[in-house]
């Protein structure tokens, strides 16, 4: 993993967030309380003089880690976030990709309809997964949240398409160019608070956070951000190797994302 120029990454992400705020009437951001979406909120605060100027949505299926709930509670208060908690019910088809492919997008759809959001900031990165690498900075979803990844506009000279199918929405991805080491380096540089689950206890830590039932910790002794960065410089494991849904079937992430998963 190569460390990139943090100033250049920050500048581009702030530009994208400001463009999105300017181009859309009613924009919101998804916040999973993970390192990426929290970094995105820190960038939004920097872009708008210390205040996140849009609502922040947490799709809560009610079995997240207790540390995640505590982190949500504390940071929402500290950063004065306009937090929308969209509670999803646990349904019989709860398992792995069925949960992420159906329960979460359905809840998101409901909350977006209720509030009439026309754009959604999502903190995915290209290096996380091959399918996420196919994304654009501004990516259109139709009214059913479907993503036509074979038919996307080119984004030349920092011009982003904000044209919208009447009932669809645009997903805005300000962190596409970042990699995992960049995120951790920026967290260190800006002193951004992070979920304590990322740090090792009893020889294990969580490298990518999801719900309790589909996320497992990985062996690690990384107790500080510096330890994590050193670990990432030599690891050969994938970032999402602790996420069960990614392992179910080949192309499962492509299928999930085309159906509206974040």
């Amino acid at each position: 993993m190569i460390k990139q120029d943090l100033n250049a990454l920050e500048e581009k992400s702030i530009y994208i967030i400001r463009e999105a705020k300017l181009k859309f009437k009613n924009i919101a951001a998804l916040w999973s309380m993970g390192k990426d979406s929290t970094t995105m909120l820190a960038l939004a605060r920097k872009a708008f003089l210390g205040k996140v100027p849009f609502p922040v949505i947490h799709i809560d299926n009610s079995i997240d880690f207790p540390e995640t709930y505590k982190f949500r509670q504390d940071l929402a208060k500290e950063w004065n976030l306009d937090l929308i908690v969209a509670q999803s019910e646990i349904k019989p088809d709860l398992v792995g990709s069925a949960c992420c492919g159906k329960n979460k997008p359905e809840t998101l759809k409901k909350v977006m309809d209720e509030h009439g959001f026309d754009a959604l900031i999502v903190s995915i990165r290209r290096d996380e997964h091959g399918v996420r690498a196919k994304e654009r900075y501004f990516s259109e979803r139709d009214k059913d949240f479907k993503w036509d990844y074979k038919n996307q506009a080119a984004e030349l000279w920092d011009n982003y398409s904000s044209k919208l199918d009447k009932k669809g929405h645009i997903r805005v991805h300000p962190l596409l160019d970042w990699n995992e080491i960049d995120i951790w380096s920026y967290i260190k540089q800006e002193n951004i608070p992070v979920n304590p689950l990322y740090f090792s206890r009893n020889g294990y830590r969580y490298r990518s956070l999801g719900c309790t039932h589909c996320t497992v910790p990985l062996r690690s002794e990384a107790k500080t951000i510096d330890d994590i960065i050193s670990e990432l410089e030599t690891t050969v494991d994938e970032e999402r190797s602790g996420r069960s849904m990614d392992k179910e079937r080949e192309m499962v992430m492509q299928r999930l994302r085309s159906l509206g998963y974040m």
Partner: protein
């Protein structure tokens, strides 16, 4: 010395009946106890294929020396709706220990 009998009693009440009052009583008792860590144990070795696999899952609660205090269900039934209950463990830390 902190007495953990209240949190044990509240957990027993939850296994008998999961209603809002019992959950609130448990959350209060947990704050007053010396619980430090939790470990979630999923039924069916974590391969959640059916709803029963989830409703049979539970969280074990430990003190600072990793002595188990009690265990509670991690799914609550609200009439016909089923919801998770991990939010009631806020304040505890994941144990990450493989063999307690």
């Amino acid at each position: 010395m902190v007495d953990n009998s209240e949190v044990k009693k509240a957990a027993d009440a939850l296994w008998k009946e999961q209603n809002e009052d019992n959950w609130k009583a448990f959350a209060k008792a947990l704050k007053d106890s010396n619980a430090e860590y939790y470990k979630i144990v999923f039924a069916n070795e974590g391969k959640l294929n059916r709803m029963q696999d989830l409703t049979k899952s539970y969280a074990e609660i430990y003190d600072a020396k990793y002595h188990q205090i009690t265990k509670i269900p991690i799914v609550r039934n609200e009439g016909k709706k089923v919801r998770g209950a991990t939010i009631y463990l806020v304040g505890l830390q994941v144990s990450n220990r493989v063999n307690e």
